[in-house]
Amino acid sequence: MLKIENLSVHYGGIHALQGVSLEVPEGKIVTLIGANGAGKSTTLKAIIGLIKTSGGSVSWNGKSLAGMPTKDIVESGIVLVPEGRRVFANLSVDENLSLGAYARKDKSAVEADRARVFKLFPRLDDRKKQKAGTLSGGEQQMLAVGRAIMTRPKLLMMDEPSLGLAPLVVKMIFDIIKEINAEGTTILLVEQNAKAALMAAHFGYVLETGRITLEGEGRQLLADDRVRKAYLGEAL
């Protein structure tokens, strides 16, 4: 349903993406792995219209997203949980969730979604009135995901959800990702924790210096020598 062809992005003098093509089929978890600076976040930001692309196309259910403002892309059903969570620190947990539903008019469905988020993350329910900035890293990540769910996405994109989180929390986040997916939301996941990502994903792409160098099913990539050597730190 999301199809990227030959996407290219320039940052100042740097050619950050050099013709990236990938596909995210409906109902699947797709992951994009690679080293720091390989262009993973850039890909996600280009999809959602936060940065300008310099070539190639992004189509969403057959419709081109080129030149669309982020607001309209989000309303069409794509959302991004940004790297480093970026919750609104001075706003309460509840307000953060309401902002997720900012553009929505269907009040009762919004409340249903809020209940669903609290069911997924009971800890957020306990801290409803608290300022988001006072939450722990793991709770902020939950809030960022919850806030994204409030936009009612068909495609949920996540940028480094495990960043700086304790192993136990990472495991929980990945369980939630699988749960959300099981409820019918398609997921595009960017991760430096290659192992966890590939274990959870149906399909994976490896990005190196702005180019896709490998692709395949998650478990298949996990077994690939090149991936094991470069991203899993295994001396072979």
Partner: protein
């Protein structure tokens, strides 16, 4: 002992970014600092190079206490660094970037610069020569006149290292030198780092995510997680350490 940190701790408000860091780096070593993002590695660098003053503890460099000194005097004392997100002087040429690095040894003043005193001219000639030498060493000599930020990513990283070397450091800190490089470039970088160490008689402390790079060139490494040193030892020891596997190499 080249560098030693004794219980160096950095707190921001309630958050402890690095706690009780005890690094020891011997002359001529290449030592790695690894850990998940947000583990406090860059903060450790910032404490050593004087960007932050440690909340507690000491930083000792070649036997002298440099805790709390200003960043520029630490560079003068002989520690140079590169940055995680490249910080070149964007409006200057490649050569000029390196010349700024050289200046710490010339100590120019506005007066001798304008008057072009004989001493200034001598320093200036020497710096130009040394800068060009460095650029040929790092394979950037042909690009000397180009704007620094027009270079491709990998070359910008090399330029940043050249600029750091221009200050004639004894200890070089590299913050993720292989970030944004593909495996082939990373291998070249490893060789480059080794060569640079031998050629300039350096000691190197580096932060890196590319496991292949770290394991390949470091004689020892420290692993940080949540600001706490959870392990240190040779690459082989680290690879087998269950705590490291859990924290860093990913969950099963």
């Amino acid at each position: 002992m080249m560098l030693e940190t004794k219980g160096a701790t950095m707190r921001f408000g309630g958050l402890t970014a690095v706690s009780e860091l005890n690094l020891c780096v011997e002359h001529g070593e290449i030592v790695g600092l690894i850990g998940p993002n947000g583990a406090g590695k860059t903060t450790a660098f910032n404490m050593i190079t004087g960007v932050y003053e440690p909340t507690e503890g000491k930083v000792i460099f070649t036997g002298k206490d440099i805790t709390g000194k200003k960043a520029h005097s630490i560079t003068e004392a002989g520690i140079a660094r590169t940055f995680q997100n490249i910080r070149l002087f964007s409006t200057m040429s490649v050569l000029e970037n390196v010349l700024v690095g050289c200046a710490v040894r010339e100590k120019p003043t506005w007066f001798n610069s304008v008057v072009r005193t004989p001493a200034y001219r001598k320093h200036d000639r020497e710096s130009h020569k040394f800068a060009m030498e460095l650029l040929s060493e790092t394979g950037l000599a042909e690009l000397a006149g180009e704007r620094a930020t027009s270079l491709p990513y990998g070359k910008q990283r090399r330029l940043e290292i050249s600029r750091a070397l221009a200050s004639r450091p004894k200890l070089l800190l590299l913050d993720e030198p292989a970030a944004g490089m593909n495996p082939q470039e990373s291998i070249e970088l490893m060789e480059f780092i080794r060569r640079v160490r031998d050629r300039f008689d350096l000691t190197i402390l580096l932060i890196e995510h590319h496991m292949q790079v770290v394991m390949g060139i470091c004689s020892r490494m420290y692993v940080l997680d949540y600001g706490v040193t959870i392990a240190h030892g040779t690459p082989d020891e680290i690879r087998r350490d269950p705590k490291v596997i859990e924290a860093y190499l990913g969950v099963e």
